[in-house]
Symmetry: C2
Subunit: 798 residues, 2 copies
């Protein structure tokens, strides 16, 4: 059983994907309505496909360029194999495929939800959540399937599926990082491009349709209305999916890297029932079990009564969510106790090697689950309808747009307080429990429910679209009433889902950051060195500038949309009377092209900066380890500032949105009930306009920025380091007494000098345990040194 | 000559202060006008005094509380003497006194400027800039006078005015840090409290006056109008003055600390013509010469033609500014070459001791001057009238307040790009030239022109007030025209002055941060340790939350003001007809009380967080050096995030302000000239409302936050470290050969164990230069150890 454990995650992923296929065919078998409904749904479907196809074209070019770069890297760096290119391509393809599944099912499910809502709310929930489930399991299943398959392949390819030493395993994991990088690059396109798309279409449609032409939202006469609905899918479904796909893969990868580091700290090899790789297999196993748990969680989401309201629907989702979190906690306990040595040794910086029991690793996973649950509550508090911060923004709307804006900004800013304290506490606690391996496993545990989380997230835009279709096809009001209940719940889950995505990005980046240090072999990142401090500043600046670029991109793309809609209104006769059909496809094309064009600059910023920091000083002959430390400072700056700006922008945006929505039911301002159309409401609408790019474009983009930055760092780490690839291969060889002093000669380290492509064996002289001197005794290619050490070991055994 | 050099800065400061007194009496002798003009000016003067008095009451309590805390610290920590309390009190008193001089002269000069503007523009400039000069030289003179006097006193008190060792000098400088802390605490009150005051009065006056009652700005019927004018002085004069006073003192102090560190790196003592303290005297000397240069600079500011326009006035200010920068560069060259050893040794982290020529220190000072000049240009580009970013915001105003806000936010965010690259480049370059001593001297050189900078800064609000008085006392239009020219120039200098203040705060914090590390004796701040990383996150969050609190404070205080103005309009008959006088003093009182009350929470956040981080883990028995590293991580987080948010908020606010002002002369939007009162203008007004607290309250507060955080760190550093206080007092003592191995015994270190209040002498065994072992050979009180070492040295000399 234990020896087969390496295949367990694949099996679980396969099971999850099979369940997904069953669910998918069930959803597709549902009645898709007819006439106008079907027509609109088809437009949205086709618009989404148009975006995907355009995105894939651009992606192909991008993947080819990056593949060439990676191939060069793999030739230059001995610890990076050319297979990283294959892993990269597959990572990109898997992520894109998962996004494709999600988009397709979401755009097929919306109309079926509308149709189901004609007869029953429970059925409408079942259909819409079914669509979400397909998305969630598709992403989680493909992520685990891809990552673990490549691990097994590389483990076989580089190590013959048997433990040799941590250096070889580092090569396996370094090559595996390509898969993660591929996935995150897709996320850049899907999340940033998608974010620009969705808001450009939204703002464009509103500015001309609602404001200039005076027609309601989702009116079929508006040429941009289909683009607007496509945008919901592009941004919230495909974007969120790719984001979490990337987090999921990167988290598990980072935990594996740190698991390898634990083995190194324990002397370079452990004996367990899992072929000596228990600490490396554990994160994959948690991910695998998480998929089955997600399946169970999604099964629990159902309501019975046709008269149910928001609380019942929310309750059903919560039940599924909480049960899955509890099940993850239980399985973490079982897996940790089973798979890890009872006591491990871990190196704590500045404190040396410490004994860590496996129970402490379990506690670290609990920290992760706690963060996942808490961050949602915090987000909910700062952005939820009827909560204090929202009521305050509503009050401030009465004195105009200016005070509404200030209140919204302040809310977003203050929301960083509990969120950052939570993250800081989590870093501290999980590290105190089990070092950076603990931090990475906390992230892994939190991400284990990704399938379930994404099902809940994707359900929102599906319900939103279903409502839009009901409106556009002029259904009975009861249909819209039912979809509105789902939509309202979907809005809440969208906000908490964003919180989860930030938390996952933050923890993932931390885990990657830790993995980066172990890969480069630097002994820490000392910000008292001025170049490192300078890079901390530069890193801190990048998320701010990135956000501004993303916001400006929305503005530019929206302006193009506005002009196109104006042109159609002007040039197509009968469009306003509903006798002529608008050219929906032209608007979709504009959004598509603009979003992909406008994401170039922020994308370049994300990818270019770490490369510049790594390679420009290299050209000037700077020491590689010094560069590695600088790049580490940059990564830390991006992460700290990026997490702050993500929380700030998401929560400010969410707060403005719900402050505006509060006016729909009416709010009490200075003792007077105030509704839509009031001056205060107009002020709140202004706030929402500012908040839209915050919460849907620049805010969520931060997740990608910080993860991708850390991943790029991880991939180029071996170029900078190489000294990391040290491995204790032998213990004390002989003892010598001269001049009354007892010296012990220990061949205790093989370090790989990446710059000169040679391996070095160091001899350490100790005097009663104190290191007196170190001396390099053997140098050569890695193969030569390995052979020499093996010979030495064989001689000693005699 | 050389031996008297220690008194040079005091002499220069005294000269500067004498010149200030002459200038002051000249300004006060000018015609102060009569009737209405004089009456209004008196109201403003009294309102300012009312604020100052209220502030001083609160300050006294605060100073007493902090003094008690400091007294406790000085009892617990052997390297901190109780004299730090005296230094602290004097630092607070000097800063408050400088602010007092500035406020008084500013409020006296405004009416005299109006009066002078009746006849001549050159005279109006002479009077208004004369007031600014008094402010500038008062601040610079008192800062240098106070700091250097205390240094001379402590140097005599602790070291008998003769060099002993770096440990003793550390005690001198540690005690001197009290002066800097006192000054910065006043800055907290003046800048944050003043920032809240000025915007609460401004927003309150506008909301009821302009919007509700429809009367123009600065109308004497508005009860809040005096408070508004007082606010300009409180925020822009006293706040800016205290800010720069604090930066000035802290920068010089940090440079002195790092100068002491240079001496330590050079073996614990140097031989030069300045009693062996050349590197410590240098920053004081640069500051002293800077005062005389500032006097020269201010003398150059004059125009001749009565028909001069903005460019001529700006040109006169620029001439003075550039000449003073050039003179500072020349004197830095002379002083550096004269006062520093030709070659120094400096310890670069990770690179060991390096030989640094004094020319390289000079290059570092040039870096500082370059940053000071560049940051003003960058600020000018992003916030200047007619520049591209402003024109873009103007264009975006045509589609409503929402797009105007987004454009303003994006401008502020993007402006961090060149600014941060400039700072990062400056850190890198000045460190590469001369280590952290170079960074601190770069800051010192930049700050040398503080007198001149502040004269230019203070001139703005004086001109603004002069215009207000002309308006309120209904002068001839030509008077307002002339003051408007001065005001327009003042607006530009206000923006660039803010840039200078940020740059000074940033460089000061970096220098303090470096000094902190040397005080604690930690070997760097490694953000790969999870607790340090967690604190980096927490530190990054604090500026964001601080800004939000400051913004909310403005909102709350403004609301109180609105209610008071409404009450007066309602209850005082004849107020609108101008027959009854409004109760100006009530509005002043409200602004005063509200601002001081509302600054409590952000102030507590600033002071409380570092104390919590230092002392809570201490209670739980955490290692002191680990705590010191955590606190360092926190300081870095606050600095990086604080600088970012300062630039973002100041520039966004400045950009919105000038986008609004663009409409006064008319702007071309979509081919149409658009003026005040248009829809686009209304959108721009909304942007300005959001920008007001950004640029005048939360933005400038960041300067204080980051400096005060680093200063608090510096003051508690010896509690955490103590190991820093090491000093090489003797060289090799004897050589011993045993078993054919040559051992050298070297008593090379006295380290002070702060926790146990004892000194330790360490014996180092070396084998042909390699350190083989260290051993503690002598422990006791500092006095005992000193005596023993002296005896040992005496024996060796025989």
């Amino acid at each position: 059983m234990e020896s087969m454990m390496i295949y367990m995650p694949i099996a679980m992923a396969a099971l999850g994907l099979i369940y997904m296929l069953i669910k998918q065919s069930w959803v597709l078998k549902q009645n898709a309505g007819d006439g106008r409904m079907k027509e609109i749904s088809d437009y949205i479907y086709e618009g989404s496909l148009a975006f995907l196809n355009a995105e894939y074209r651009l992606l192909s070019i991008f993947v080819v360029v990056v593949s060439i770069l990676l191939a060069i890297v793999s030739f230059v760096v001995p610890t990076t194999h050319w297979l990283i290119v294959i892993a990269f391509i597959f990572g990109a393809v898997f992520s894109a495929f998962a996004g494709n599944i999600g988009m397709k099912i979401a755009t097929k499910t919306n109309v079926r939800t509308t149709q189901a809502a004609k007869t029953s709310l429970p059925d409408a929930l079942k259909v819409s959540f079914g669509g979400g489930t397909v998305m969630g399991l598709g992403v989680a299943g493909l992520a685990v399937l891809g990552l673990t398959s490549f691990f097994i392949f590389f483990f076989w390819f580089f190590m013959d599926s048997t433990w040799t030493n941590t250096m070889d395993m580092t090569i396996v994991l370094e090559t595996l990082a390509g898969f993660s990088l591929g996935a995150e690059c897709i996320a850049l396109f899907a999340r940033v491009g998608g974010g620009i798309y969705t808001k450009a279409a939204d703002v464009g449609a509103d500015l001309v349709g609602k404001v200039e032409a005076g027609i309601p939202e989702d009116d079929p006469r508006n040429p941009a209305t289909i683009a607007d609905n496509v945008g919901d899918n592009v941004g919230d479904v495909a974007g969120m999916g790719a984001d979490l796909f990337g987090s999921y893969v990167a988290t598990v990868l980072a935990a594996m890297v740190l698991g390898n580091y634990v083995i190194k700290d324990m002397g370079g090899a452990i004996t367990d029932a899992f072929g000596g790789i228990g600490p490396i297999l554990l994160p994959m196993s948690i991910a695998g079990v998480g998929i089955i748990i997600s399946v169970i969680g999604t099964m629990l989401v159902k309501i019975k009564s046709n008269d149910a309201k928001e609380p019942q629907v929310m309750g059903a989702l919560n039940l599924g969510n909480w049960v899955s979190i509890a099940l993850v906690a239980i399985s973490c306990y079982v897996l940790v106790i089973w798979m890890l040595p009872e006591t491990m040794k871990m190196d704590f910086f500045g404190e040396g090697l410490q004994d860590i029991s496996s129970m402490r690793v379990f506690y670290a996973t609990l920290v992760g689950l706690f963060v996942g649950a808490m961050i949602s509550s915090i987000t909910e508090f700062y952005t939820g309808l009827g909560k204090k911060p929202i009521l305050k923004i509503v009050q401030q709307s009465s004195t105009g747009a200016g005070t509404n804006i200030i209140a919204g900004l302040a809310t977003g800013m203050i929301s960083t307080f509990p969120s950052i304290l939570l993250f800081a506490g989590a870093i501290w606690a999980s590290y105190a429990f089990a070092g950076f391996y603990g931090v990475a496993l906390a992230a892994s545990a939190m991400m284990a429910t990704t399938g379930m989380q994404l099902a809940i997230d994707a359900f929102g835009p599906i319900a939103d679209n279903a409502g839009g279709i009901a409106e556009m096809s002029e259904q009975d009001p009861i249909v819209r009433e039912r979809t509105d209940i789902l939509d309202a719940v979907g809005n809440t889950t969208a906000a908490t889902g964003k919180g989860f995505a930030i938390a996952s990005a933050a923890l993932t980046s931390l885990a990657l950051f830790a993995a980066y240090v172990t890969f480069t072999g630097i002994d820490g990142i000392n910000i008292f060195k001025a170049p490192v401090l300078a890079m901390l500043f530069v890193g801190g600046m990048v998320p701010v500038v990135f956000s501004a670029l993303a916001m400006n991109a929305v503005g530019k793309a929206a302006m193009q949309m506005v002009e196109e809609v104006r042109r159609q209104f002007r040039e197509i006769p009968g469009i306003m009377e509903g006798t002529a059909k608008p050219e929906y496809d032209k608007c979709v094309a504009i959004s598509t092209e603009a979003s992909l064009r406008e994401m170039m600059l922020p994308g370049l910023l994300t990818i270019g900066f770490p490369l510049l920091i790594a390679f420009v000083p290299m050209i000037f002959g700077m020491n590689n380890l010094a560069i590695a430390e600088m790049l580490g400072g940059y990564m830390a700056g991006v992460t700290v500032s990026g997490v702050l700006w993500a929380i700030f922008q998401n929560n400010a945006g969410g707060a403005w949105d719900n402050a505006k929505k509060s006016f729909e039911a009416g709010v009490l301002i200075n003792g007077e009930m105030t509704y839509k159309g009031s001056e205060a409401h107009m002020a709140a609408v202004t706030g929402d306009t500012v908040g839209d790019p915050f919460k849907d474009t620049s805010g969520p983009s931060m997740n990608i920025l910080i993860k991708l930055t850390c991943l790029i760092g991880l991939v180029i780490a071996p170029i900078l380091g190489g000294h990391a690839i040290t491995s204790t291969v032998t213990s004390t060889q002989f003892v010598e007494t001269t001049n009354g002093v007892t010296d012990a000669l220990e061949v205790d380290m093989i370090s790989l000098d990446a710059e000169n492509a040679k391996a070095i064996v160091t001899k350490t002289f100790t005097d009663n345990g104190n290191v007196m001197a170190e001396e390099s005794v053997l140098e050569g290619t890695l193969e030569e040194v390995k052979a020499a050490v093996a010979k030495l070991q064989a001689e000693n055994k005699k």
